[in-house]
Symmetry: C2
Subunit: 203 residues, 2 copies
Amino acid sequence: MPQGKPATVPDDGMTTRQRRNRPLLIVHTGDMKGKSTAAFGLALRAWNQGWPIGVFQFVKSAKWKVGEEAAFRALGRLHEQTGEGAAVDWHKMGEGWSWIQRGSEEDHARDALEGWQQIKRDLAAERYGCYVLDEFTYPMKWGWVDVSDVVDTLAHRPGHQHVIITGRQAAPALIEAADLVVEMTKVKHPMDAGQKGQRGIEW
Amino acid sequence: MPQGKPATVPDDGMTTRQRRNRPLLIVHTGDMKGKSTAAFGLALRAWNQGWPIGVFQFVKSAKWKVGEEAAFRALGRLHEQTGEGAAVDWHKMGEGWSWIQRGSEEDHARDALEGWQQIKRDLAAERYGCYVLDEFTYPMKWGWVDVSDVVDTLAHRPGHQHVIITGRQAAPALIEAADLVVEMTKVKHPMDAGQKGQRGIEW
C-alpha cells in the first residue's frame, strides 16, 4: 500500500499526527479466502510495535487456524523470554466445540455472547493494542450478539486499540462504523478445478 | 474458509489425496490492502507445517513490511534454537534502495531480474516449501521480468512448493496459470476520511 495523499482533509480540529494515530476498526469480509490470514498478517505488525495482541476465535472446530495459533503462541513465548515484540493471548470461544457437529444452538449462542462480554471487559480495561475478532460476523448475523451493542461499544472504546473483525456477510451497521473495510473476492479457486482444502493452505 | 465439496471432480487420474496435496500458485491482487498481509498469514501456516519459507520482497523502501520481517525473522531464529516450525529466509531485492528516490530504472530492472533468477535457482533446488514473492507483479508489469518465463518456470517447478505472488494488476497470463486468485477490493478506506497511513497498520 503506497503512502498517498488523503482525498480530503476533514475539518475536525485534529492535527495530521492525531488523525494518523487514531485507532482503527477494520473489517475483512467477502466470500473468498484471505480474510483471516490478512488479519493475522496485520497482527504481526502490531506484535512488532510491541502492542499486546488479543485473538478471539469464533471458530467452527479445533482444526482451523492452527498454523496461526502455533506461530502466535511462539511469538508470545518469545516475548516472555526476551521482551521482543508483544504479549499474545489466544482465546477460543467454547474451546473445542463445533457449531455443526455437537451442542445445541443455545450453547453456541451463549458461548459467543460470553466471548463478546469478555471482549467488552478487555476493551474497557484497554488490555490489548490489537484485537483480532476472527469470524465474529457470524454470531452477529445469527443474532447471538447484538450488532448495535458491538458498534456502540467499539465507537466508545477508550485509548489506542485497533480492532480487526473477519467473516462473511458483515452487518451493514458494522461496515458503516468501520474505518477500513476490505472485501476478498474470488477470481479463481482450486475447488473450481476439483481440488479440496489442504494443510498449510487452509489451516 | 469452510471445507466444501468441489464443484466438479476432474478426470485427471489423480486420487483426491494427490489432488489435495498439489502445490498451489496463489495470486493476491486488487487495489486494496490485504494482499501482502494475507500472504504472510498463509506463510504462518507453512511455518507451522515445518516448510522452509523464502520471502522475496520487491519493495519500494526499507520501511515497508518491517513488522512481518521482524516477526518472521524471530520465528526463523526460534526454529534454529528449538527446531519448532521452519527456517525462514528473507530476501530484499536491491536491499535498501527505493524505486522512487534513487538509482536509475536500469538498476532497478537489473535488481528485479537478479531476484527472479535467484528464485528460479531456488525452485529448481526445491529450497523452500513456501515462497512469498511480495509485490512481484510490478517487475512483470514494467517488463523487467518476462511473464511467460515466470509462468513457464512455475508450471514446471518440481516437488511440493507453494508460491504466493502479491501486487496490483497481475498479468492475465499469471492469473490464467494460478490455482487460486483473490482480489482485494475496497469497500472503505481511512484515506477517504482524510486519514494517512500509520505504524502497526501500514508497516
